[in-house]
């Protein structure tokens, strides 16, 4: 297999304020099934509407592992084969549900040349709730020197 497109970025290539290439995910029943398969999270609140509503939720919603995976994908796409994701923090503040279109976005918040570390603000959002999952991360990119 070959990857769609990928060019290795270097520490010197990026600047504070730059936006990361984000991506968009349509959330539907098939995606929900993939979520359970990929995360192996079988807690009913993520696939059983009656169970979720009995617990006080509007409907089933996407789980933490799936949300984390999407945030992680934004970062691993950005750092490429030569970089590394050192830290990530996120808060599950609002929910992504079937019918939503979720966007995953990020921007560079800081750079430390002494360690080639880059701080990133990233998040997941949908049209219904706005930002659902605010996050932050520290990654490294290789230097050109």
């Amino acid at each position: 297999m070959t990857r769609k497109t990928h060019t290795q970025l270097y520490f010197e290539d990026v600047n504070v304020g730059d936006e990361l290439p984000g991506f968009t995910v349509k959330l539907d029943a098939t995606r929900m099934v993939k979520q359970v398969s990929g995360s192996q999270d079988f807690y009913e609140v993520h696939h059983d509407t009656a169970f979720a509503q009995a617990g006080g939720h509007k409907d089933i919603f996407y789980n933490t592992g799936w949300t984390r995976a999407n945030l992680g994908r934004l970062l691993t796409d950005f750092v490429g084969d030569e970089g590394w994701v050192k830290k990530m923090r996120f808060e599950m503040r609002r929910m992504n549900m079937n019918g939503d279109t979720m966007k995953v976005k990020g921007k560079i918040a800081g750079k430390r040349p002494e360690t080639n570390e880059i701080d990133i603000e990233l998040w997941a959002e949908n049209d219904r709730e706005g930002i659902t999952t605010p996050a932050s991360a520290t990654v490294t990119l290789p230097g050109k020197g």
């Binding site: 070959t2 994908r73 830290k87 808060e91």
Partner: protein, 183 residues
Amino acid sequence: MAKTGTPYDIEAVRKEWVGKQTEPVPGRYPVEYDPIRRHCHMIDDDNPLFLDPDYAAKTRHGGVIAPPVMADYFAGQGIWPPSEDGPMLLREVPTPGDRMVNLINEFEYIRPIKIGERLSSYQVLADIFHKPTRLDPISTWIVSETHIIDEAGKVVAIGRNTLLTHRPPEEVAADPNGTGGSK
């Protein structure tokens, strides 16, 4: 979580549980290709570093690595078949309700994890406290740390998780403040 009846004594639970640490428990299986493939499938991630052994062999990693966020997956037991192995802290700590919502997650990824590695994990209960939510006035929050180690005992990743636990609406309606009927 181990659901308890009310009244619930948060201070007694804190005294007994905060700081508890489990012994390291090995993950059920080594780091394997197919769970990585399923993980990538669920998010449309076509990164060949995670999926293509021939491609990955030519990179600095020398082979396929797991997406960093999968470290805890390979250090765990998986949902089925049921297992009594694995860190039990979150299953044992008493809470007023048995419903839960994962809220804050922090991870530190020390190094890449390769196919074939065996990972283990242990947990530390960092904190437990009450903080009201719209779901339950005695919502109970649990903060735990999971340390993931390799076969040499070196830490490869650390996770810190804040979990909200609550009672279902009918239990809250019957006893909103969790007093067990006492005034």
